[in-house]
Subunit: 781 residues, 2 copies
């Protein structure tokens, strides 16, 4: 893949030319969504070439029966998967009776444009059909972020060198499958379908989970500047409803079909009202009209960009990369619904089944904290809180008791949806990330009520898990954590993964601290919780402290580094740069056992701990660990770049910081890992935001407040972004000379720039040049 397939542009992603071979990749890139629904960049008209047709409704899943080679006790019987649902963009197109199918005609020109600023996708093409008939199509569509159940499209056909009949058939089609279905079952049962001229409705129900979804379309046709209504023929089949018509067009005369669709699910409406509400929703949208809806879309995206944009001057590829990421992130999760979460692929593919991973807590939360009101991040925490009961059941299945919780590695409904034993049972550090997110949220927002009402309960359940999961090693005279997999999934079933041990000890310690905090601040709430959880406070916290202080941390004294796990230095120590280029990524070129035995690290592991708990390590220690582990890291997880980039920024290794940032920011646009065809790396996109805000701009939130220690990559003229910190909207701008921080809020804020504390009144801006002497200490590398 050439790295510059898409022309650099600050706001547009433009594909020029017809590339059917990379169609799946482009379908991922040109995905649209609005938090409630999403779809890949499929074609409206039928396409018989290679594509992954995919339209998804958030939270509508099916428990697909597990298929494994060899069963292990504790595996879940089902994996929940988000379903490919009704294809609501479909329009069949006929020209003089010939079906338009880009796989069957000569494509003369083809382009797709994704407008990040305004939130729409446009596609234009010219084809030569049989008899030499040339036709031009211009299609534009969007998922409304204003009305999250509404999508709309405009489809314009023009006969270029002939006059003749053009047939158009907008439809709703539920005859869809998930490619990743384990038993090739269809997941949908028909409920109801109806069609009348220019309108149709389709309602379906999932097998087993009995979710119902309903789509209704409302179309209108324009030609010669006027609305026209040719005679239609309705088509109704099982799970299919459409309306077809044809009309005579003169050479050069366009006709434009507007299709407005509402997509509702029984997650938000009673099933018996679904059809009626759907009709109503689409009627309202149709009344507003396509252009009206598009105007709303532009306005709302403009508002959102105001909150989250990062502007980079002087580096167009970096600018395009970060904006593409922010755009896709917001398309995936808007934070309105605490029952939803963020899947690593969002609505852009089937891989990972639309499930939630620890990515959300470790990589996505800071983005939502910094660019949206606290309620959004809080909803992400509540998602886990709602699933606490299932996490306790899950731990029970593995033999833990007494209210201990193990959150699943992969989930939609709180149940584990993964079955590699080394991950499902052993990658338990995820439990720590979920507690860390609570801590992180409280620290950033100052919202301690969350801790009192929901957070502490989760924290206690996780502490109880760690307290049982450790075992005492007589040999080491310490508590150990055996049989775990760290964030580095290129080594499994290790003993004493430093990161896991560290976050476990931290969780136990944080459980004691936060418990005391709540006890002191909200004794009544605490008393109720204590009773409900049958908490034996003195004994349990005593045990937690004992374990936290007695946990073992593998360490190499001569190198003065913590070891990723017991025996890590028994591995042959080579560096990632010594791997021949043609063997990268090793995941695709090496056998699994060779990867496991190598010293190579997939993503931040020890360094993930240094990132989370930066304040507990001095700069020398962080540098030493970065210098040891980063050269052994192959960054073959999309989540690897950002943490390393932030740490590199921290220790002043700016070239590395920039290199890792850029790679992460353009991961999908440039298809670095040759896997974008399966969907976009949504969760790692949040990491690129962190790389700039926490990395380049050095933003930190500590007890004493927010601080910035920025630098600017040498090839950038400037970068700037808005940030929401508690009650203060801020703007940060960094150019080659100085950092400028503007208080956009209505109250004064106390903050630090470099190490200087200052107070900024409302509307005030502080500028600090880079040659400020207080900056020097961090410059030493």
């Amino acid at each position: 893949m050439q790295p510059s397939f898409f022309k650099p542009h600050p706001w547009l992603i433009i594909e020029e030319g017809w590339n059917p071979r990379r169609n799946r990749l482009s379908e991922s890139i040109f995905s649209l969504g609005n938090g409630h629904m999403g779809l890949r960049g499929n074609f409206e008209e039928g396409y018989s070439g290679d594509c992954l047709q995919g339209s998804y409704l958030a939270g509508v899943y099916f428990p697909d029966p597990t298929r494994v080679g060899w069963w292990k006790n504790g595996y879940p019987e089902y994996f929940a998967k988000v379903l490919n649902g009704t294809n609501w963009i479909g329009i069949s197109v006929e020209v003089e009776g010939e079906i338009l199918d880009l796989n069957q005609v000569e494509v003369l020109s083809f382009s797709r444009t994704l407008n990040l600023k305004e939130g729409w996708l446009e596609r234009k093409f010219r084809v030569r059909m049989s008899g030499g008939r040339q036709v031009e199509v211009e299609a534009l569509r969007f998922c409304s972020i204003t009305r999250e159940e509404v999508g709309a499209l405009r489809y314009r056909v023009t006969p270029l060198n002939f006059s003749g009949r053009v047939g158009l058939g907008p439809f709703l089609d539920g005859n869809v499958k998930n490619e990743d279905s384990n038993f090739d079952e269809p997941f949908w049962d028909p409920v109801h379908q109806e069609a009348e001229p220019f309108q149709a409705l389709l309602q379906m129900r999932t097998k087993k989970t009995l979710f119902e979804i309903c789509s209704a379309m409302h179309c209108s046709l324009e030609s010669g500047g006027a609305i026209i209504r040719p005679l239609t023929r309705q088509e109704l089949r099982e799970k299919f409803a459409g309306s077809f018509f044809s009309l005579h067009l003169e050479q050069g005369q366009s006709c434009t079909l507007y299709k407005v669709v509402a997509n509702l699910s029984s997650r938000n409406h009673p099933p018996e009202l679904l059809a009626a509400r759907c009709r109503q929703r689409v009627r309202e949208a149709a009344e507003t009209g396509f252009e009206g809806l598009l105007a709303e879309q532009r306005e709302d995206w403009a508002r959102k960009w105001e909150e989250m944009d990062i502007r980079i001057e002087g580096d167009l590829p970096a600018q395009q990369g970060i904006r593409f990421n922010l755009f896709q992130l917001y398309q995936t999760y808007t934070g309105k619904d605490e029952r939803l979460n963020i899947s690593p692929k969002g609505f852009t593919g089937e891989k990972y089944g639309g499930c939630t991973y620890w990515d959300t807590e470790a990589y996505c939360l800071p983005f939502f904290l910094g660019t949206a009101p606290p309620a959004v991040a809080r909803n992400l925490l509540l998602y886990r809180y709602r699933q606490l009961g299932k996490a306790i059941e899950n731990a029970g299945r593995l033999g833990f008791s007494g209210g201990a919780a193990l959150f699943p590695m992969v989930t939609i409904n709180g149940e584990e949806c993964h079955n590699e034993w080394e991950i499902t049972f052993e990658e338990i550090h995820r439990n720590g990330a979920i507690v860390y997110a609570i801590y992180n949220y409280c620290r950033y927002t100052g919202d301690l009520e969350y801790l009192e009402d929901f957070g502490l309960e989760t924290v206690i359940a996780v502490a109880r898990f760690w307290a049982q999961r450790v075992s005492w090693s007589d040999a080491k005279k310490a508590f150990v954590l055996l049989g775990v997999t760290g964030p580095n999934e290129y080594e499994n079933n290790v003993q004493n993964n430093w990161y896991t041990n560290y976050i476990a000890a931290w969780c136990l310690d944080y459980a004691c601290r936060s418990l005391n905090q709540v006890k002191a601040k909200a004794p009544a709430k605490f008393g109720a919780l204590e009773r409900r959880l049958k908490l034996d406070t003195g004994r349990e916290t005593g045990q937690w402290k004992h374990i936290a202080s007695g946990l073992y941390f593998p360490r190499e004294e001569k190198l003065e580094i913590f070891l990723q796990q017991d025996g890590y230095l028994d591995k042959e120590q080579t560096l990632a740069r010594d791997i021949p280029a043609e063997e990268r990524p090793i995941h695709d070129h090496w056998s699994w056992d060779r990867i496991l035995r190598s010293c190579f690290i997939k993503q931040a592991d020890v360094l993930q701990g240094m990132y989370f708990f930066e304040d507990r390590f001095d700069l020398d220690t962080i540098s030493r660990h970065f210098d040891f582990y980063e050269p052994r890291t192959v960054h073959e997880s999309s989540l690897s770049g950002c943490v390393h980039s932030i740490l590199a920024s921290r220790i002043g290794n700016r070239d590395k910081a920039y290199e890792l940032y850029l790679r992460a920011a353009r991961l999908d646009l440039d298809d670095y890992n040759a896997d974008t065809r399966y969907g976009l790396h949504i969760t790692s996109m949040a990491g690129t935001w962190m790389s700039i805000v926490q990395g380049f701009a050095g933003m930190r939130v500590r007890e004493e407040g927010i601080s910035f220690s920025p630098f600017i990559p040498g090839n950038w003229d400037a970068y700037s972004f808005n940030l929401i910190y508690r009650d203060w909207p801020l703007n940060i701008r960094v150019d080659q000379q100085a950092v400028h921080i503007l208080n956009r809020g209505r109250a004064a804020i106390k903050l630090h720039i470099f190490e200087e504390g200052l107070i900024l009144g409302p509307g005030q801006m502080a500028s600090r040049p880079f040659n400020s002497p207080v900056y020097a200490p961090e410059e030493k590398r």
Copy 2:
């Protein structure tokens, strides 16, 4: 399961009563086979209740596409599976037009008897059908060990309380499936079917592998003491051929159907001649007739029992157990075909897909060495030699080169047929067992030509594997073997499994020794091999010695024991006896991660090494390791009991030796592990032979010849067995007073009893009482 379901009997296994719930279990127990083919104890007449219909032809397999949750590089794309083939015993039975189906009628009595001595299965039952009609059936069948392509059965029906029409329809049916098929595909395509009165033929072809199999039947009917030939109706459908007739029977008048079948496969005949040969084979058998075939069967089984019987006086359950095992072992593998091997379930079930494991080399070889001419054991070695090329390819796929071989964990055709990464890629000690078998065979038989012609080539390829598989640990200043799984599969991906490291070092050492031996004795053969393998003898053997002497062995100095793996003592040390009875087997009751983290051992691991290399450890060392590891062992592999029993015998822990023996010997009869319904534990059956011969009788073969150091369990009156050692057939009899060894051969033999060397002339017997003073030193425990 009550432990005494089958009545103790020296030669019979008798099931009394109708137990449809344990039908799958009984089907396993009552399996028949003859090395070429085998079948479970299914019913001739149709049965709509729960059963596993299974008829198998050795070596006829299908490469079933792999199905896994998550693919790992290096996994095989297909698993070969032995196929459920033509149901050749089938007879449809109608009484006054009503189909006889034991699931649909009232069963008044039911029994099955397996005659171990004569090699046949009999089944008798009486049923009450509609209208109160009572019918008696007696069925007897066998797989001929004289003519391995022939099976025969006799099926007698008697109306007990009525006169009326009885219809009988013997058939061949290829509409069968494997229950373990990954994609529910039928594996057979029809080739040809034909039927004429009392005869039928069915030929089918496997998909992909294009094996062809052909079955032909030849029936005759007897009633009132005469052969009769009623009119028949032939039935031909795809993959089905049969001949049906009915006749009027008076009350109390029997009719007896004889069905003789030939089952041929294209492994042994050209496909185009298969049908003709099959017709010929069945004609010859039919001419001999059922009773003639049965007489041959009796004679040949008598001859075989002469070679392999172990007689136990005074302990009927033990006697029954060992004979059942020997019977099933010989039914599974007769040693005539070097392309065949022994699957853990033989022909008694689908589990393990009819594939070969390291069981053969580690557990079965000694039995065949001791009870059959050397050619049988040699064929087992040649099986692996024939697959050496594939083993080199297999190693290549994992990244090894230069002629290094990794034999698959599970195979039929030399290709790996398993895909748990922790087993497929990591349980590499199997490579050592294959070399150990060569060493063991040469030591036992003195056949050094095998080493020259085939063995050394295998030994070198395995040495080359180990030489690449080790890595240098700078931390330990030693070679290490990282990422392995030992015989204890209750812990995976460990570092420095002592057994694996030990057998690896031994292999490297043995490679040097055997290479020098061949070089000295057969320099021309060696020179040819050296050129063919591009062997850089000096350099490579130098490297092998260097690694063998520099390998790391985990050890705990205070306890003076070798550790099963790095960090084994970090685990919480509890004993198997402390596991609550209701949690045993832990494999069924604990989650997989809990098992992995526990200190509990599935089967001999360190002790497997002490067993293989007994001479390298003094008795104290063996005792110390036994006393440490056995109490931590849950014996949840059927292969666990025998090795522990032998070592317990060796160290004088006789109660333990007997307990472990008995459990292993009656594992299937008493369904100890609640899994016999999936098939019998064929390979572990060989271990029970070892428990007596090597354990109780203390038989050893060393450079200086064969020796015995017997004891006798307190509750036995005597035990005796024949043994083939090189040119000498021996008989060993042990009673409570003495051991008696008889040289049944034609030449004098030098041997040791206890530690006394003696020479036995032809026909001579030596008796040594147990109070012999030289016995005392081993008595100390």
